[in-house]
């Protein structure tokens, strides 16, 4: 089905609201292929978005920006994942959470974007210099540079070590989580990533951005707490998210202890790692 509207305006000029006259809408029969039907739907959505007809807009949204966030500045997230599918998903999750997103497919490209790549000077990267990165979210398992290696590089740099780094992984391996936290990761998400995971991270990233001075002290304290918990051998990890079906020991070199697969409530906002950090401060 193809629909076109004839009017005083050019049908391709969807930014001229008053000029599209729906009285001369015609429907043309065509092959009902998926592509053409999608095209129609896209046109209608486009019209909705650009006010081609007097579409009602929600009061919070203008031009796709959600003005309901309390911060006028959006959080800018650098997402790193070698999987195209995962990149698309994380991008959408972040956009829906009112973030600006830059998605790259490798640790190397992430460093280039930040200007940390030794081989490419910052001035050679295309004009993104002005965009400050507020948060880095990266996959753990990537060819070339792993998320862990990227984390280390970021934390070693004086310019960027303050940027919180979150690690994502499909494997729920305690040794891996601990290693990342000790290196300074803010949090560890087990894939598949859900909206609640992203919202939680954005929430406390936004909070931390506002409480700038306290951040350094808080993180150092958490690292200390985490190390202490390791030494005490505290095994209260039953609230961790369920591990993947098969044993992940094939991918982990060390004999890591899997967390108990106690079903955790997905609605809880606390991450398992944060609960770890919290309990010892009580």
């Amino acid at each position: 089905v193809v629909i076109y509207a004839a009017g005083s305006g050019d049908v391709s000029d969807l930014t001229a609201p008053s000029s599209i006259d729906l009285r001369s809408v015609s429907l043309l029969d065509s092959d009902h292929s998926l592509a053409q039907v999608s095209l129609f739907d896209s046109v209608v959505s486009e019209m909705a978005r650009n006010g081609g007809v007097a579409w009602m807009r929600t009061t919070e949204k203008i031009d796709g920006y959600d003005l309901s966030t309390s911060d006028t500045e959006e959080v800018h997230v650098l997402a790193v994942d070698d999987s195209l599918v995962d990149r698309k998903v994380i991008e959408r999750l972040l956009r829906i959470s009112s973030c600006k997103v830059t998605a790259v497919d490798s640790g190397r490209r992430a460093l280039q974007y930040l200007g940390l790549d030794e081989e490419i000077q910052k001035k050679e990267t295309n004009g993104f210099d002005g965009l400050k990165v507020d948060l880095i979210i990266t996959d753990y398992c990537m060819p070339g540079m792993t998320g862990y290696e990227l984390l280390k590089k970021v934390k070693e740099s004086s310019a960027f070590r303050e940027i919180p780094v979150v690690i994502m992984s499909s494997e729920n391996v305690i040794a891996r989580i601990d290693r990342c936290l000790e290196e300074g990761a803010e949090d560890f998400i087990v894939k598949p990533v859900k909206l609640s995971d992203v919202k939680r991270i954005i929430d406390y990233t936004t909070t931390e951005l506002r409480e700038g001075e306290q951040r350094e002290g808080a993180r150092a304290k958490r690292r200390g707490i985490n190390k202490r918990k390791q030494r005490e051998g505290d095994d209260d990890l039953s609230s961790s998210p369920p591990s993947t079906l098969s044993s992940s020991t094939s991918s982990s070199p060390s004999s890591s202890i899997q967390s108990a697969t106690a079903p955790s409530s997905p609605s809880t906002l606390d991450s398992p790692t944060r609960r770890l950090k919290m309990t010892s401060s009580e």
Binding site: R49, V85, V89, L195
Partner: protein
Amino acid sequence: MDFVNQLQRKFIDYSSSLHREGIVDDQFTQLRKLEDENSPHFVMEVASLFFEDCEKLINNMAIALEQKQGVDFKQIEECIHQLKGSSSSIGAMRVKNACIAFRSFSGAQNREGCLRCLQQLSHEYSLLKNKLQTLFRVSVASRCLYVCLVIFCRENEHAEPFPDVLVFQLEKQIVAAGGSIPRVH
């Protein structure tokens, strides 16, 4: 009226059968919730990327398993890892489970077992693709029909109005299939 009822039934049946048969899991539902009027085709777009990914990886594994000189099981494991990851992210549960089963055979370097697993994986992938494409087609057709009806209603104020219940039914079925209702006001 009967046509709309049929469409609605087909819609809801299809949507629930995908979950009932374990073809998709909760992650798929989560992704559908991320669609809105600004991004009404998100799931379709991700699914397309996934299909391309899947076909490429299945092909690579088939070729690897054909190698007379010796099968590169490391490469196969790498493919399985990627496919397991993306199928998990999109909520393709049966494909993901097929990957998990596959992994143990490739770990054991069992070529015969791997060939059987690959066949199973291809089967699950085809099933998923057919079901999802049908769901998308019905979903988009419903949305179009809905918009047409609303436009028609608005532009024909003096004509016999369509029963509201017709528009309402369409809204219900769009939502039942997890899609978002196009804003028309």
